[in-house]
Symmetry: C2
Subunit: 217 residues, 2 copies
């Protein structure tokens, strides 16, 4: 991959041949996921909080309760937002060359609050439509109180790196004759059938498709 | 769950009914995973690095290249190590009550280096045996150079919290008659058949079982 890092702190130091800095690679990793880990400083020590995220154009968003300590502690401050897909394990002919296949994105920036009820509603709709296309319009409107109880943070996507490993083990030449199985053990996120709650089941409502951006490729 | 937080920073503030602080709950979350996100300070800003981890008794370990910036930047410093299993999405009758099912563990502490070749080898063996029981003894010994090129960090498991959400949506009573599907969409990590590399395939070696601690329940 040919692009260059947008800043020194995004430069991938180890295994830099696995690094990318272009938006297409980044968007592919981000749009394939839902869960990120946000790192921020709180009271002088680092904290890493898992949360759902979504991307709209050149911005990444995450949200939670207005009372959330993690959101309050991130607002207007430096954060690092990391998304990782663990795609498998790699079994080599030596312990040393065992590895993992993965796609990960690391974004740096300053977390900012989404202000204004209209903006907040538009962001929530985008999050919902990304996961469950068509669902937003089937739900009652979000109340003023609910909107007030919801905080959305965002960060521009302009300082990021991607690191990807795929494929087979890379063994030392002198180990190639070793009588051990070598290759990759692939994983993936599997979607089990949706489980309706009791009221939904009684009403025999149509099961929603397991779809949205996660199942698009 | 009945235990209490070991420190103020581990106290779960939001949805505290989903929190646990006992070792059994913590070990269950840790032992079901491989991937963690480690947060640390580097040059004054937070960084979140994904890496594999393993648990041995009261300690958690992670490792990498001796040249790794992430490991060098964590050594003898405060880190936060977070493990998250995203178990599904929860579709409620209002946008507000949509949620996710998950199990997560957050550990705080000071990262310490594993010193001494014997200790390092024992830790690497434990990692390997956890993922691939029986494999370690089938591989050639780790060389002195490989051991030197490998750095292992560890942290005692004594300041941690667990947060878990399971099951159905929790809707407002006045929304229960809404004509929408409500329930949970469960995910899981699926293991696809192992893929041997070309040399392994030619030798027709027996496929290793997809096993180890991840498939024990």
């Amino acid at each position: 991959m040919t692009s260059s890092p947008p800043s020194e702190r995004t430069r991938v130091k180890r295994a830099h041949e696995r690094a990318a800095y272009d938006r297409a690679a980044l968007d592919a990793v981000l749009d394939a996921g839902m869960l990120c880990h946000v790192g921020y400083m709180f009271d002088g020590y680092p904290v890493v909080t898992p949360t759902l995220y979504w991307r709209e154009g050149d911005a990444i968003y995450w949200h939670g309760s207005s009372a959330s300590r993690a959101l309050r502690a991130s607002e207007d401050l430096d954060v690092c937002l990391t998304v990782t897909h663990l795609d498998g394990l790699v079994l080599a002919r030596s312990a040393f060359h065992h590895s993992a296949n993965y796609r990960s994105a690391m974004l740096f920036g300053t977390a900012r609050l989404v202000n204004g009820d209209e903006d907040k509603l538009a962001r929530l709709e985008a999050m919902m439509e990304g996961l469950y296309p068509g669902r937003w319009s089937s739900l009652r409107p979000v109340s003023a109180q609910e909107l007030k109880a919801t905080k959305i943070l965002w960060m521009p996507i302009d300082e990021a790196s991607v690191k990807i490993r795929t494929g087979e083990p890379v063994d030392d030449t002198e180990d190639m004759a070793a009588p051990v199985w070598a290759g990759a053990m692939p994983f993936r996120l599997a979607f089990d059938p949706p489980v309706p709650d009791a009221v939904t089941q009684e009403a025999a409502r149509a099961t929603p498709p397991v779809t949205g951006r996660l199942t698009r490729s």
